[in-house]
Symmetry: C2
Subunit: 392 residues, 2 copies
């Protein structure tokens, strides 16, 4: 039978990503390509205790159908944390629990995007977000960034160059893929520009809690007085991805529509897991856990930078990140990292070619290294191999 | 700020459903309106044991990012059950695990529907499916059914009346809202018609395991030799909705696209919960559990029918279902059950007005009763109240 699939699904092309994913499970290959946290840092023992509490003490209503917005105590806990950290004044009605922040991107898309709408984003940016947005048949304008964030004058020019700009999507802290962080001035300028043009900002902030420096800049919601900033968060990096728990914080009118979208998409995120994570957050010292895992990631990051200095060509440029999971390497302009990937796999190391993070695939000579999911001895082995690939 | 929401979200109207949901949490009102299984039948103790096993014995990879398709042992288990029951020959590559069968409907929509495509469905049909489909800006043609299933000649005429028919959506067993079941001849005829017109059939089968009769008709996938039947299943009614675990079974080409849609929607369904349910299915006697809960539901169903006979107007018509959670009442044609709802709420009983299940809202005099979520004493009290409302 010849199937009449939707146009959106025919537009989706994940050939390269599938190839990378397919190689991931090969135990002979050291993967520096994933966006994964480290399995040895997941608080499995504590989560077990919290699962036990859930099945012993919780109201049986957590096993039943419930509201799309999510488990009220967890929503309160997250909103309080957000308010404390960012001096905002959201309440439990401003949040919807999602299946990781990836579903946050999907639900925001479902709520806002018509076919042909334009999304303004950093260039490069998180590649799976591009795929999610593409599934709503939108177009992109990628905006250049420097070390302080998006170049705001370029953003404004881009907005004015089209008639149907709709959303601005950014990863403000320890960005995927570049590891870079927006400074406060750019955050304020971003809100000004978005407000002037009646655009909504989507702040995707899953790495916030993995910081190597004492102070993380405030969420962009802090600078929002018009209700046009949506903030996405996640427990995938701070606890573990297998929980599939994230959240969306936004003003009342937006969050009402997002809850409606959630309801018709999958009714609700599991209240069993929400209760369990709420138990964790109230019974254990989450801040201490974050400090511990951030220290491990900082160590691995520093080691990776030192190894890059030692083993990769001198022409390689990078900026050491202040948090998150990634280092972004710029190789000399004649190198095509996507074309080099099969050679790297042959040598037993996997990275993520930079080209796939660009809206226009215009830049060929970069790659993303993940240091979080690999232990130190494998990091050494992997980067030595990478050096062999790119020194040839 | 004036938000530019997507057209699809402005099309979604759930005013009445929100009203019903809002009343659900009022403990003074007996709800015969929900689509919920009974909380006292959830195997919480067993699930606790299985959670413990999960955190103690399972591979730590279940806490990590993984493939969109789902946890392989669970996929194998479900496919084997499906094959055994229906004499089909699917394998683990023919299934994707979803967040309940509601997400199955969403992912199928994402994979197949362009704006303006036509869905053919039973009339009445599951109202939240209509909302999900509507979020993809499709149109509906509702097809009349009799006690054997959809009237196939009407279906074929409807298909031929439009140029862009895309999917046929049906609930073949113990339908929501009518409780009716398709016979085997209609199932075979349905596949013939769909194949002749190059259409895909979506079989939504969440009530299959809640049967009051020894033999349930085969899944429509049994009669499919062209790969155009998609089957959706769920553990929400058989175990509990809070797990958010369902599945999609389809031919290779379709399931590949659905996995892609799943990937960009929310990466994967929680492998922690998938491992836990797999533990349950392999450690406990699931068939015995199904027999137990089906007996309770059958009892409640019989009681409800008897109470309807005794307390509701003689003009009321219904057919006693062979399984599932619902009885469908037809009142005399001058009754408008949506208009009567506030009066019922005033008296302390809630039902689901039939009108909301129709694609065209054409029929006003029906209502759906749920007997599964309420214990016997409350069933009596609720239907006595309902009698008072409709005998006035």
């Amino acid at each position: 039978m010849k199937y009449n699939f939707a146009d959106r699904i025919n537009h989706m092309d994940s050939k390269e990503i599938s190839q990378i994913m397919g190689t991931l499970s090969n135990p002979k290959i050291i993967s520096l390509s994933a966006g994964s946290p480290s399995m040895d840092l997941f608080p499995v023992k504590e989560l077990k205790e919290c699962a036990n509490m859930t099945y012993t003490d919780a109201s049986s209503s957590i096993f039943q159908y419930s509201t799309a917005e999510g488990f009220l105590p967890l929503r309160n806990w997250i909103v309080n944390k957000h308010n404390l950290e960012n001096n905002t004044s959201f309440n439990e009605k401003n949040i919807v629990i999602s299946n990781g922040s990836q579903q946050g991107i999907d639900l925001v898309s479902k709520t806002f995007l018509n076919k042909g709408d334009v999304i303004l984003c950093e260039n490069p940016t998180y590649t799976v977000a591009l795929s999610t947005f593409k599934s709503y048949e939108c177009n992109f304008l990628g905006i250049e960034s420097d070390e302080h964030g998006m170049i705001i004058s370029n953003l404004e020019k881009a907005i004015e160059s089209v008639s149907n700009a709709k959303l601005i999507y950014i990863v403000p802290n320890f960005q995927n893929p570049t590891g870079s962080t927006w400074d406060e001035i750019r955050r304020i300028q971003l809100v000004e520009v978005a407000t002037r043009h009646n655009l909504v900002i989507v702040e995707d902030d899953p790495y916030r809690d993995i910081s190597f420096v004492p102070n993380v800049h405030s969420s962009i919601t802090k600078f929002d007085s018009f209700g046009n900033v949506i903030s996405l968060g996640s427990f995938s990096k701070s606890l573990c991805p297998g929980l599939r728990l994230g959240w969306i914080i936004a003003n009342n009118e937006i969050i009402g529509k997002i809850a409606l979208a959630k309801q018709v998409t999958d009714v609700q995120t599991s209240y069993i897991l929400q209760q369990q994570v709420y138990n964790y957050l109230t019974k254990y010292d989450f801040q201490k856990h974050l400090k511990n895992i951030s220290e491990v990631y900082k160590d691995r990051c520093t080691l990776t930078c030192n190894l890059v200095d030692e083993y990769l060509p001198e022409s390689v440029r990078y900026k050491k990140p202040d948090g998150g999971l990634f280092i972004w390497l710029k190789l000399s302009t004649d190198v095509d990292t996507l074309k080099m990937l099969p050679k790297a796999i042959e040598r037993g190391v996997l990275y993520f070619p930079g080209e796939l993070f660009y809206t226009d695939r215009s830049t060929k000579n970069c790659l993303r290294l993940n240091y979080s999911s690999v232990k130190k001895d494998k990091l050494v082995e992997g980067i030595v191999k990478l050096g062999e690939v790119f020194n040839k």
